[in-house]
């Protein structure tokens, strides 16, 4: 294999417990296959995902991020995902403005019944990010001195 082919993106997925996580679970129990590049972090609600989580994921070596929760109107806590939607609607453009490729941060609504959509979405994210290549810009961000490699370590 050439060096290039070796790149497997590291995707961090922040999923809401009630919908997308259950959807991903459904995909599993339904024995649907999807690419194994994703590290799932389960949270109660998309409304509880602080934008700093995304920054931290990039700091710890993520190449791409997926945030996914219940469809609008289906939030287990009534309005969590509506608030989340507002937040991401301004946060994503901000990161884009700072030079972070918008395809590295993706959002979706996947319900507990949508195992197939989960498979499709996560495969889509992995493929997009694979095409973008490693997020070297962020991983190479200097910490202290040029020999520090902390930023590229996975934590």
């Amino acid at each position: 294999m050439t060096e290039e082919n070796k790149f497997e993106p590291r995707i961090v997925a922040f999923l809401c417990n009630w919908c997308t996580y259950a959807g991903a679970d459904l995909a599993g129990t339904g024995r649907k296959e999807y690419q194994a590049n994703v590290r799932v972090i389960k949270l109660p609600c998309t409304g509880g995902i602080d934008p700093l989580f995304l920054i931290k994921a990039f700091e710890r070596g993520a190449d791409g991020i997926l945030v996914s929760g219940c469809h609008p109107g289906d939030c287990h806590y009534n309005s969590g995902n509506y608030h989340a939607r507002r937040r991401w609607n301004v946060y994503k453009p901000l990161l884009e403005f700072c030079g972070i490729n918008p395809d590295r941060i993706q959002f979706s609504w996947i319900s507990a019944a949508e195992g197939a959509k989960w498979v499709e979405t996560i495969n889509g994210v992995v493929d997009t990010v694979r095409a973008l290549g490693p997020f070297e810009n962020y991983q190479k961000l200097n910490t202290i001195g040029s020999d520090t490699s902390v930023s590229s370590e996975t934590g």
Partner: protein, 352 residues
């Protein structure tokens, strides 16, 4: 040793330094800032300024530096000492006040035990200053016992003697060595007395009067009065060439990490906050008093030197126009008896 240096030879000087393996740090203009930063060519150097925005301390006590790295493997930890942090360099064109800060801070970094990060950088870096030929109303070097052409802390001092020529005076062996290394760039000293173009910095206060006042007035309404407008940021301490307080933090992933020394400042309320929530300096007047006291009383008692070189940076860049020399003027001319705190507005605000 005395020499002269023609402006036209700056190019060969910078190239010469590069050839001899020196990294060159010099004032450079970028947008609205003039900063001491690494340069490659003489053309990049900016001369026509009063003061650089950043101080020389950045090259001896960086805003953030690794003091050790470690790897954690299960229960075992191995430590790795940082290396190569002291790079052979020349700071070219800093102001004499900046250079004067270095021997002052040597004292604290050598107090009983030696901070190698400071000392090894001090050894590796040669400081070539240019005497100020202009100043502004924030400058007060002459009030703290220095001058626009002070030699304290400089290895080599350049003083303008005509539009295209500088007088070169070496102050230390290191400076002399540097000149000898690049001998061809310099010319013989002028005959007769050269016309040194040095700014006249007005003396604003008698420094001798400051400490006696501070000795008496730990409690005084002026602290609260003067610091009311302070917003509690760290600008004054971070741009100051003599403020050396730092923080030590760990930055780490699961298995690897660095212990890092970062600039810290006494104006932050977090600076002295105990884990218990108790804060010995919980209000801004206490923090402002600490800054003045540290510079003009505590450091004097400990190291027989005031911790200020009169560069005026803190006042120039204060977001709220707090002016340190104005404060010192008030102190130095205050003939009154220690004034007990009684008036409403002078009362130090109660602790949190």
């Amino acid at each position: 040793m005395e020499k002269t240096l023609k402006k036209e030879n700056f190019n060969s000087l910078i190239t010469g330094l590069k050839d001899k393996g020196y990294k060159t740090i010099a004032p450079k203009k970028d947008n609205n800032l003039i900063t001491l930063c690494e340069i490659q060519e003489a053309d990049e150097i900016h001369f026509d300024h009063i003061q650089t925005n950043n101080s020389i301390k950045e090259y001896f006590l960086p805003k953030t530096e690794k003091i050790l790295s470690y790897t954690i493997e299960k229960t075992k930890v191995s430590i790795e000492e940082p290396e190569g942090f002291a790079v052979k360099s020349v700071v070219f064109g800093a102001r004499p006040c900046d250079a004067a800060s270095l021997p002052i801070m040597d004292k604290v970094f050598n107090w009983d035990c030696t901070d190698k990060f400071w000392i090894e950088r001090r050894e590796a870096i040669t400081v070539v200053t240019i005497a100020c030929d202009k100043c502004d109303s924030y400058c007060f070097c002459t009030s703290v016992g220095l001058a626009p052409d002070s030699k304290k802390g400089s290895d080599v001092l350049l003083t303008k003697i005509s539009d295209d020529e500088y007088l070169v005076e070496t102050e230390t062996e290191k400076g002399e060595g540097l000149i000898k290394e690049l001998e061809t760039v310099f010319s013989e000293p002028p005959s007769g007395t050269p016309d040194r173009q040095v700014a006249t910095v007005e003396k604003k206060f008698e420094i001798d009067k400051v400490k006696p006042w501070l000795d008496e007035n730990f409690v005084h309404k002026i602290w609260a009065e003067f610091s009311k407008k302070c917003i509690g940021c760290g600008v004054c301490t971070f741009v100051c060439p003599t403020c050396h307080c730092f923080d030590i933090v760990d930055e780490c992933t699961m298995a690897k990490g660095d212990r890092v020394k970062n600039w810290d400042g006494c104006q932050f309320k977090m600076f002295t906050l105990h884990t218990s929530g108790h804060n010995p300096r919980s209000t801004q007047d206490q923090r402002w008093r600490q800054r003045i006291m540290h510079k003009f009383k505590y450091y004097v008692e400990k190291f027989d030197n005031i911790l200020c070189v009169g560069c005026g940076r803190c006042s120039r860049s204060c977001p709220a126009d707090m002016n340190i020399s104005e404060m010192l003027e008030i102190i130095a001319t205050d003939e009154g008896q220690p004034e007990p705190v009684s008036s409403d507005e002078g009362q130090p605000v109660s602790k949190e």
